[in-house]
């Protein structure tokens, strides 16, 4: 089995797309939305818009699909710009402003775990641990690399502790240490 060592979400997405396309009843189960983890400097819309159906290609690329989970997400320039702005606002003490800026970003990349993590952190800073926990859990759901996953669970732990849920916090901490994104590798036919 080949592996992808560097960041190649596009290839991974193509792989997922091709794989899914092959298995759908109509041959058209689509891939994830385009801006998602997509370096916009090299857009190749035709690849993403039309999932391929060729069997040969399917087999070739399928092998690489599971590794996509360990690929860090790359944000688009739009999201990067917004994250930067949110950071500036947060540093200036404008938490509400930072929050609305991040909400703009999450509209563009709803599957970007980092954004949910940042939102969770902001809510914790605003003394809203319940929402912080929920948002961090959402980051857990979308995490595609182990660092983000671990950070998300750690934040869940922090938010739970702030609510007085010590047992829940410990459980989250344990997961932060042990859980890995490759846990549920897509099972692929040989």
């Amino acid at each position: 089995m080949k592996t992808i060592r560097n960041n190649r979400p596009l290839l991974a997405m193509m792989a997922a797309g091709i794989f899914l396309a092959g298995c759908a009843p109509m041959g058209t189960r689509p891939t994830s939305p385009p801006p998602d983890a997509e370096p916009a400097t090299e857009p190749e819309p035709e690849v993403r818009a039309t999932p391929l159906e060729s069997r040969e290609l399917e087999v070739e690329t399928l092998e690489e699909a599971p590794k996509s989970r360990e690929t860090p997400q790359e944000a688009s320039p739009a999201v990067l710009a917004l994250v930067q702005q949110a950071d500036q606002r947060r540093e200036a003490g404008d938490l509400a402003g930072a929050q609305s800026t991040l909400e703009r970003a999450v509209k563009i990349e709803p599957g970007n775990a980092r954004l949910w993590l940042d939102l969770a952190q902001l809510r914790l800073a605003q003394d809203q641990p319940e929402q912080a926990e929920q948002l961090a859990l959402r980051a857990v759901e979308h995490a595609r690399d182990n660092d983000t996953l671990s950070a998300a669970w750690k934040l869940v732990a922090k938010a739970r502790r702030a609510q007085g849920d010590e047992a829940g916090a410990r459980e989250a901490e344990e997961r932060a240490g042990s859980e890995s994104v490759s846990r549920g590798v897509v099972h692929l036919p040989a």
Binding site: P30, P35, A78, A81, Q99, E103, K107, Q131, H187
Partner: protein, 807 residues
């Protein structure tokens, strides 16, 4: 005469204002007293004639009493003036803004789509983009000069932006300096006020802003209405005298000789009666206003108060609103001839109405342009060119009562937190989530009802509808209609029509099942055989399929895709009604109480809005987001009052939800909703569910793409049988709306813990890895045991077991 009374009044007024400004009050009062003394002196020579004496005393007493009364009146008027000016001059209903369009690199956006965004904000195509609100489209590039806007999260300056669009995608964004930009936010469009039917409405202008950005407006206004505005003290006695004499001669009471201040006094405080008493009060108040306030303050009030037209019950006051109403743009973007038209209309807004009386309006406009030349505001040649231009009025009035159903929702959400009085008067700004392009698509979709009525053999116009479209990522309500007439303000079916939901409930049953992965997967066989359900307090219930047939063992995925009633009821009974009810609640639907078995087929009432909340959760990643229509409320000065943040709540495990979503995609791919594929590309992978109730009373379609969730209801208001089905009657509207949207494909990347495996043709067995066959997703830890061969036979079915295989 008028002038002498005027000056006396001024004095008296000053006296009565002693409490307010003592220093100024002394002098005028003594002058009044001097007047009295003079008259007393005249009495001396005729002291012998008692009768005449009496008469004179009577007159003097009369004058004194008159003066006192006059003083009292002036004092009363003065109180009214100061009271009004010290407070907020104008009450303003809360103004509502749509969501701002964002343009970013990598975004799926056609060049026409970008142009449509600019057109909606009334940007003008132009060769040069020096002015804000202009744009130039050339080839695959659009250059536009964005307007400045004060957002709740800060001031956003105006900016020239170059956007290059390649193959329906934003390839590059650059500033005027060539610097690349990641994301650009347009200014949000105002969609009206919270109380659009109030008699008064305004777009407030600030004098400094107008002086800077639209100096021609002020120059022209003063040229036409009051050239000596900055010199006089409220009234111009000679002008009034002239008008008075003219009136005497002509025998009519023609209005004239009024300064801007007098006009303002009349507009703010007095009725339109043309009586001398009113005219007199107007003069007193003008003097009082000028006494208290700066010229600019008076001019600003005038700019915002002047009457410039009528829109049904709504009066168009002020140049700000008028500019919007007639030209669809702010005053600082008006062309000179448009400024001339508005200024000309001051004389008689309805008489010179450019939409109803274009010829009169044109003549009046050109007269004003002549005045501009006279005062050196333009040279002859330029003026002639202006005069040759058309009126330039937008066809449709810049209506402020748009999207009543959505505004209704905003009003309801706000009234939980704000007093009605404040919403009506404090000039709050409400930033909402409405997306004009999505709303337009949804509004457009109601046209399909004509076809639906024709196809289903129904009386034209008998059907009603309601619809909601939300953003998948954030739960923001992007569009909403409350009826077939999308402009009608009244019964809002999206929020208030509680109708049976039919099969729309089924996903809750199947999700409950799939959440027990040890027991259920997409290929679990469900018995489609006759069943009798006992219901407490009512007859036995024998549910049937829509087709009337029974199909024997049916894999779960097909029972869902084809919306089979019998296996769904069996499944629901097996799972337990309470478990299904719990799922409904966690998805964001109201708890059905009591929950009868018949409700498993959707004999429960929900509003389209509630259905949208439920399907929003179904379409998501396992988190429920309360649907929001409002993002921020700020006060008149832009200070934030409340923010409605993006809240989420864990609602379902991601893995079973993924299987359900796959099942709902199968509904469209091969089940009850295949006709959708004709209009929305199958590559989007739409997931959805139809709903039909007894005797075709209600038709529903709820579905999702990668970026939106939409719900459509169709039925009759009187709930009579209408021969409808979800797929024939509601789905066409959904398809029409979504066909014109920027749809992203549903993200079907499996979550951790879900894997695909091959299944046999009957979808009842997982095949060995070496076999061909359709892929279906399974929860990895609970994948059903594999069959032993590629036909899907299990060990026992094969009888001989593995040995046979080697034979």
């Amino acid at each position: 005469m008028a002038s002498s009374k005027g000056s006396k009044t001024k004095g008296r007024t000053g006296g009565k204002r002693a409490a307010r400004s003592g220093a100024r009050s002394g002098k005028p009062r003594s002058s009044a007293r001097r007047g009295g003394t003079k008259r007393t002196a005249r009495r001396q020579p005729s002291s012998g004639r008692t009768v005449r004496n009496w008469l004179i005393r009577l007159v003097v007493a009369g004058i004194l009493i008159g003066s006192l009364l006059l003083a009292g009146w002036a004092w009363y008027l003065n109180e009214r003036v100061t009271e009004r000016f010290e407070g907020a001059l104008f009450t303003m209903p809360a103004e509502i803004y749509a969501a701002a369009d964002e343009i970013y690199v990598g975004q799926s956006l056609s060049i026409d789509g970008l142009q449509a965004s600019l057109d909606r904000l009334n940007y003008e195509p132009a060769d040069s983009v020096d002015e804000t609100g202009s744009y130039r489209r050339r080839g695959n590039e659009v250059v536009f000069h964005r307007r400045a806007f004060h957002f709740p999260d800060g001031e956003q300056p105006s900016r020239v932006v170059h956007a290059r669009i390649v193959d329906g995608r934003v390839a590059e964004l650059k500033g005027a300096d060539g610097q690349s930009i990641g994301i650009v936010r347009l200014e949000p469009r105002s969609i009206g006020t919270l109380y659009p039917n109030r008699a008064e409405d305004r777009v407030l202008l600030e004098i400094d802003h107008v002086k800077e950005e639209a100096p021609l407006l002020i120059a022209t206004l003063l040229a036409v209405e009051d050239r000596a505005f900055y010199e006089h003290r409220g009234v111009v006695p000679t002008a009034i005298l002239r008008a008075f004499l003219t009136n005497l001669v002509s025998g009519e009471r023609v209005q004239g000789g009024s300064t801007i201040t007098q006009q303002l006094a009349k507009n703010l405080f007095l009725t339109a009666d043309r009586t001398y008493r009113r005219k007199f009060a107007e003069m007193i108040m003008s003097l009082e206003m000028e006494w208290h306030y700066e010229k600019d303050k008076i001019l600003e009030a005038y700019l915002n108060e002047v009457y410039l037209g009528q829109d049904g019950a709504r009066a168009i006051h002020g140049f700000g609103l008028a500019s919007n109403f007639y030209f669809g743009r702010p005053v600082d973007e008006l062309e000179p001839e448009q400024v001339a038209l508005l200024v000309g209309m001051v004389k008689g807004a309805n008489y010179y109405n450019p939409r109803r009386n274009p010829e009169r309006a044109l003549a009046r406009r050109n007269t004003v342009i002549d005045v501009m030349v006279e005062l050196g505001l333009a040279d002859q040649t330029t003026a002639a060119e202006w005069q040759s231009r058309p009126l330039g009025v937008t066809k449709m009035p810049g209506s402020r009562a748009r999207h009543p159903a959505f505004v209704d929702l905003v009003r309801r959400q706000l009234s939980e937190q704000y007093a009605k009085e404040d919403l009506q008067t404090k000039g709050l700004k409400v930033f909402t989530t409405l997306r004009p392009a999505v709303q337009a698509a949804l509004e457009e979709s109601v046209r399909r009802l004509d076809e639906v009525e024709a196809v289903r053999g129904l009386e034209p116009g008998s059907l009603q509808t309601a619809g909601v479209i939300t953003s998948q990522a954030t739960g923001e309500i992007e569009a909403m209609i409350g009826g077939r007439d999308v402009r009608f303000e009244g019964y809002d079916r999206a929020l208030d029509a509680r109708r049976q939901i039919g099969s729309l409930i089924k996903p809750a049953i199947y999700l409950t099942a799939l959440s027990r992965p040890a027991e259920y997967s997409l290929i679990t066989p469900l018995a489609d055989e006759p069943i009798v359900v006992e219901q407490r307090g009512s007859e036995e219930w024998k549910p049937k399929n829509y087709s009337g047939e029974f199909h024997g063992d049916t894999p779960l995925i097909e029972a869902l895709a084809h919306s089979r009633n019998v296996p769904s009821v069996r499944l629901g009974m097996e799972l337990g009604l309470d478990a299904v009810a719990d799922t409904l609640v966690s998805l964001g639907a109201p708890r059905p109480e009591p929950f009868y078995p018949s409700m498993l087929l959707g004999s429960m009432d929900m509003t389209p809005f509630e259905v949208a909340q439920m399907y929003h959760t179904i379409a998501g990643d396992g988190f429920m987001t309360p649907l929001r229509a409002i993002s921020t409320v700020v006060d008149r000065d832009g200070e934030p009052l409340s923010r409605y943040s993006l809240d989420v709540r864990r609602a379902a495990e991601r893995e079973p939800l993924y299987l359900l979503q796959y099942g709902l995609q199968t509904v469209v791919a091969e089940g009850t909703s295949t006709r959708l594929n004709r209009e929305v590309s199958p590559s989007i992978g739409v997931g959805g569910k139809t709903g039909t109730t007894n005797d075709g009373r209600d038709a529903w379609f709820a579905g999702f793409t990668g970026n939106r969730v939409g719900v459509i209801w169709v039925g009759r208001d009187d709930d009579r049988p209408a021969n409808l089905t979800g797929s024939s009657s509601a789905l066409p509207l959904w398809a029409a709306a979504f066909a014109s949207l920027d749809n992203q494909p549903v993200n079907m990347q499996p979550p951790r813990g879900v894997a695909y495996d091959r299944v046999d043709e009957d979808r009842l067995h997982v095949l060995p890895e070496r076999c061909d066959g359709e892929f279906l997703p399974f929860i990895t830890r609970h994948r059903p045991e594999r069959a032993v061969d590629c036909e899907g036979n299990t060990e026992e079915q094969r009888g001989g077991g593995l040995f046979d295989w080697f034979r």
